[in-house]
Symmetry: C2
Subunit: 279 residues, 2 copies
C-alpha cells in the first residue's frame, strides 16, 4: 500500500529503490556487509511490509547472503507478515563453490517473489525477465501485467523458448560461463599485478562485476579518478550512487562482462597509472 | 494525483478505465452520442484533471468527435487546467470522407497527449505503440517509461523502423485499407440483406468494428444471442460491458478485421437465423 515501507539493501540497486518510491512506498535502507543483509540489524521502529534483496550476488557489493541469514530473513518475513522480493539478476554466473538455495526454494510460507532476467545471460535489448510468485498471488500479478502493458511481446518469448527447448541456451550458458570465468581470472590477476595492496576486491565470487575498494583514496577524489580513466578509454564507475550512506574511501564498480582478457589487463594497468598520478 | 478524477467516455474502452483506476484516479463516465463526447454536458460538480477520449473512432460506438466538440473540449481543458489523452487506436482506417484534425494538431496549449498503436494496423503481438506528449512533459514520461520497464524491446522497434523506412509499411497500409474496405462493404451489405430493419448500425465510418443495435431485443436477452451465435461459430460480443449505464436494448460489437467477405456474409446470415429463433 502507498505509505508502507520497503526494506532495501544499502548499497543497492537504484532501479529497485526508484520503483518502490514511484509506487508510493517509503524506503528503509539497511547496510549490507560481507555476508549480505543482516535482518537482525533492522531498527526496532521500522515495520517494512516488503524486503528487496539480491541474495545470490548482492548488487553492487557482490556479497552472497549466508544460509543463516537467509533463514533469519524468511523467519522475519513470517513474523512481520512481509513479502520478500528476491532478485537473482545474474544467478547464472557463479564461480566459487556451489550456489546456495534461493530464498524462494527455502520459503514454506508463500512469501518470496523470485525474479530473474535474461538481460545478463542473453542481452539487455531482449527485455525479457520472469517473476515466480506464490500461487495465491499469480492472478493478481497477471492482471497487473495485463493492465500495465497488455503483455510482453510474444515474438521474443517464442524465439527464446525455441532457443531454450533446442538446447542452444544451455550451450550458450556453458560457453558464457567459461568466457566470463576467464575474464574474471584475468581481472583478478591484473589487479594483483598492477594495483597490489593499494586496493581490496570484493564480490568476485559471482556475477559480472566486482567492487574495487581504494582505502587510501578519499571518496571525494573518486570522481576525478573515474574521469581521468575515462579520458584514457577505461570505463570504471563510482559505487557511491548505490549507497544511502557512501563510505569515506573510493569504491569502484568494475564490470568485465564485455571485455577480453587482454583488454582487461591493459585497462587495469592504465587505471594503476592514473591512480599513481592522482596521489 | 491519486484521488483526482479522470473523465472517460461512456461507453468506452475498459482498458483505459482500469488503468486510471489502478493509478488511483476516480473515473467520471460521460455519455457519448453520435457526435462523440459532449463536454458541455459535464456535471457542474465534476472537476476532472484529465479526459480520456477516442475522437477519431469512439470506442466502441464508432462516433467521430465533431469539430465544434473538439474545439469545446480543448477550451474546457484550458479553463479546467486539465490534460487530454487522445487515443487514436485505429486512426489508420477511415472510410468516409477526410478525417478531422486530431486534437493534438488543434492544441495550442500543450494539453493533449496523443497516443497510437501498431496493434491494429500491424498485429497485437508486436506490442508497439507511441505517445506524443507536449515538450515540457517529455522528460517526465521518458523517466516513467524507464522506471516501468527499462524501455521497450529494441528488436521490434528496429524491425518496424526498417519496415517503415523502406516503404513497406505504406504499401501494407494501402493494401490493408482496401482489404478492410471490402470487408466493411460486405458486412454492411450482409446486414441489409439478412437483418434489414430489425437492426441499426453505428460507427461504420472508421475502424475495424461496428456496433449493431437491436432495438427490439431487450438487453437481458443479448447474452443468450451471443452464446447461440458462438455455438454456431459466429463470434459477436455484447457491447454492454463497455457501458457504465448499459442501454435497455441489445447492442453487439461486430469486428470484421480478420474475416473474408464470404465469411462475413455467412456469419450474418447465421446471426439472423439465431435471432429469428430467439424471438
Amino acid at each position: 500500500d502507498p505509505g508502507d515501507a520497503a526494506l532495501i539493501e544499502d548499497p543497492g540497486y537504484e532501479g529497485a529503490r526508484s520503483a518502490w518510491r514511484a509506487a508510493g512506498a517509503r524506503v528503509v535502507p539497511l547496510r549490507v556487509d560481507d555476508d549480505g543483509l543482516d535482518i537482525a540489524r533492522l531498527p526496532a521502529g521500522a515495520r517494512p511490509r516488503l524486503a528487496y534483496v539480491t541474495p545470490a550476488h548482492q548488487f553492487p557489493t557482490g556479497a552472497v547472503l549466508s544460509l543463516p541469514r537467509r533463514l533469519a530473513l524468511l523467519d522475519w518475513a513470517r513474523r512481520a507478515d512481509a513479502l520478500i522480493v528476491e532478485d537473482d539478476y545474474d544467478g547464472e554466473f557463479h564461480f566459487d563453490g556451489r550456489p546456495l538455495a534461493p530464498l524462494a526454494a527455502l520459503d514454506r510460507e508463500a512469501r518470496v517473489l523470485y525474479l530473474g532476467t535474461f538481460s545478463k545471460v542473453m542481452f539487455p535489448a531482449l527485455r525479457l525477465g520472469y517473476l515466480v510468485v506464490p500461487a495465491p498471488l499469480a492472478r493478481l500479478f497477471a492482471d497487473a501485467k495485463a493492465l500495465a502493458d497488455g503483455g510482453t511481446s510474444a515474438l521474443e518469448q517464442q524465439a527464446l523458448a525455441q532457443f531454450i527447448a533446442g538446447g542452444s541456451f544451455e550451450r550458450h550458458l556453458r560457453r558464457a560461463r567459461q568466457r566470463h570465468g576467464a575474464r574474471r581470472a584475468a581481472l583478478l590477476a591484473a589487479i594483483t599485478r598492477h594495483l597490489g595492496d593499494r586496493v581490496r576486491v570484493s564480490g568476485a565470487n559471482a556475477g559480472l562485476h566486482i567492487l574495487l575498494h581504494l582505502p587510501r583514496l578519499p571518496a571525494a577524489d573518486g570522481d576525478a579518478l573515474v574521469r581521468r580513466a575515462a579520458q584514457r578509454q577505461v570505463g570504471v564507475y563510482s559505487a557511491a550512487p548505490y549507497y544511502a550512506r557512501p563510505p569515506r574511501h573510493t569504491v569502484l564498480v568494475l564490470g568485465y562482462g564485455g571485455l577480453e582478457p587482454d583488454e582487461i589487463d591493459t585497462g587495469i594497468a592504465i587505471l594503476a597509472t592514473v591512480l599513481s598520478a592522482e596521489r
